[in-house]
């Protein structure tokens, strides 16, 4: 199986590589169009700020390539938000693949939402074998609301999308690579899709 990690200089790439290594899987880190198109699985990590990440994607025309992909695709953290439509972070037009907005958490609560929180309302092959209320590690200040594309929820304190799916595009707000055995299980489920 050929796994690629999209390289746009804004991801926590090494941690994802190590997480795959712990599962006995190898991935190539690349921004090359043919390499990405020919992969069986595409992983799209991301940390940082939305508008600069979008700018980085445009450097290699990745903003045009990613929406055309048809293989199982996994966006992680900012990688999830970049798949959405529009983010309140820097008033940024995102990739627009998943028709969901990205909003800022209410000013009355602490941001970033940082730490371990429960996953609930799980509904996807991505969560096969994962119990309702399992914990995952989150770090983010913006969130996608719950919509018909939500496949897992978390609450802070209001429910938000912990994971999204639209066609072949899967996306998780939490860090699978840092969420202990449960995170590893979810990553393995993605590789099994």
């Amino acid at each position: 199986m050929k796994i690629v990690i999209v390289d746009y200089k804004a991801g926590n790439v090494q941690s994802v590589l190590f997480a795959l290594e712990r599962l006995g899987a190898h991935a190539t880190v690349t921004s090359n169009t043919e390499e990405i198109q020919s992969a069986d699985k595409v992983i799209f990590p991301g940390v940082g700020e939305a508008s600069s990440a979008m700018r980085a994607l445009k450097v290699n025309n990745l903003d045009l390539l990613l929406p055309t992909l048809t293989q199982p695709f996994l966006g992680v953290c900012l990688g999830m938000q970049l798949l959405c439509q529009h983010s309140e972070e820097g008033d940024t037009e995102m990739l627009g693949i998943i028709p969901v907005p990205v909003k800022k958490f209410d000013a009355a609560i602490k941001v970033p939402h940082m730490g371990w929180n429960n996953l609930h309302h799980l509904k996807s092959d991505l969560f096969t074998g994962i119990q309702e209320e399992e914990y995952a590690y989150f770090v983010h200040s913006f969130y996608a609301p719950v919509t018909e594309h939500t496949i897992a929820q978390s609450s802070y304190p209001e429910p938000f999308s912990a994971a999204l799916q639209y066609k072949n595009f899967y996306a998780v707000q939490f860090h699978t690579e840092k969420s202990g055995p449960a995170g590893a299980h979810i990553l393995q489920n993605f590789l099994n899709l």
Partner: protein
């Protein structure tokens, strides 16, 4: 619910774990990667590695350590100790660290916080504040607690958040090493007055101390020797907190 975090801290010198009692008397507590793996397995929510190496080889050794930790450990970790430049942070994050903590360098040049936040995002910028109780109130100290910066702890905490810090690691030098409990008043006061999470550090001696500091408003609590020497085992601590109605992952 978002849970309160328990964070073992590993002080690192030349690639080994050490812990100074009141930052002076240092004892060896083992191999960092092995210890980190044990803590992750026991339910640690995060780890902090604080590098106190003072040699020229420092940066290279630290990067190697970060890489090894990231290779084997599947929970988040923060790296601190002598970080003063954007380039230092870049190489640590590239090798698998999730967050960095800055302390004296941020006091010396507060713009560093903003530079790091805009380059890497606030979520990976923890500002460590060492504070001591003085007759006038809680003040910020630098250089391992030896230099009075003249800053008030609460004012400095507000300023670092304004400049882009995503988290505060608040160590009470008055409590550190005493095992008499965390500094509840200043921890609670800062936690109530900033929008970012606050990690309480310094003074943990038993399970009740963790309960007290979470009830005082801390979002996370950090300790070192009581974990290294198994005086307060992690699984029992988390169970105790859960039984006392603290939202905790166990």
């Amino acid at each position: 619910m978002l849970t309160k975090r328990i964070i073992p801290c590993l002080d690192i010198k030349n690639g080994r774990t050490v812990k100074g009692v009141r930052f002076e008397d240092i004892r060896d507590a083992g191999d960092p990667v092995e210890l980190a793996a044990l803590y992750a397995k026991q339910g640690a929510d995060e780890l902090v590695f604080l590098d106190i190496t003072a040699t020229n080889e420092k940066r290279k050794t630290l990067v190697e350590l970060v890489r090894e930790v990231a290779r084997y450990i599947d929970i988040p970790f923060t790296v601190g100790g002598g970080i003063s430049a954007v380039e230092d942070v870049e190489v640590l994050l590239q090798n698998g660290a999730d967050k960095v903590s800055v302390n004296s360098s941020a006091i010396h040049r507060p713009e560093l916080i903003t530079e790091l936040a805009s380059r890497f995002g606030s979520q990976c910028v923890t500002v460590a504040i060492d504070t001591k109780s003085t007759p006038e109130g809680w003040k910020v100290f630098s250089k391992a607690g030896t230099v009075d910066t003249g800053l008030w702890a609460l004012d400095w905490a507000k300023e670092v958040v304004e400049r882009g810090a995503g988290e505060i690691l608040l160590t009470s030098m008055s409590n550190d090493g005493t095992k008499n409990g965390f500094a509840l008043d200043i921890t609670g006061e800062i936690s109530r007055n900033v929008i970012v999470p606050v990690i309480a550090s310094g003074g943990a001696g038993n399970e009740q101390h963790f309960l007290d500091v979470f009830e005082a408003g801390a979002d996370a609590a950090l300790a070192a020797s009581i974990f290294h020497f198994q005086e307060v085992p992690l699984p029992g601590l988390k169970k105790f907190l859960a039984q006392n109605k603290i939202d905790i992952r166990c």
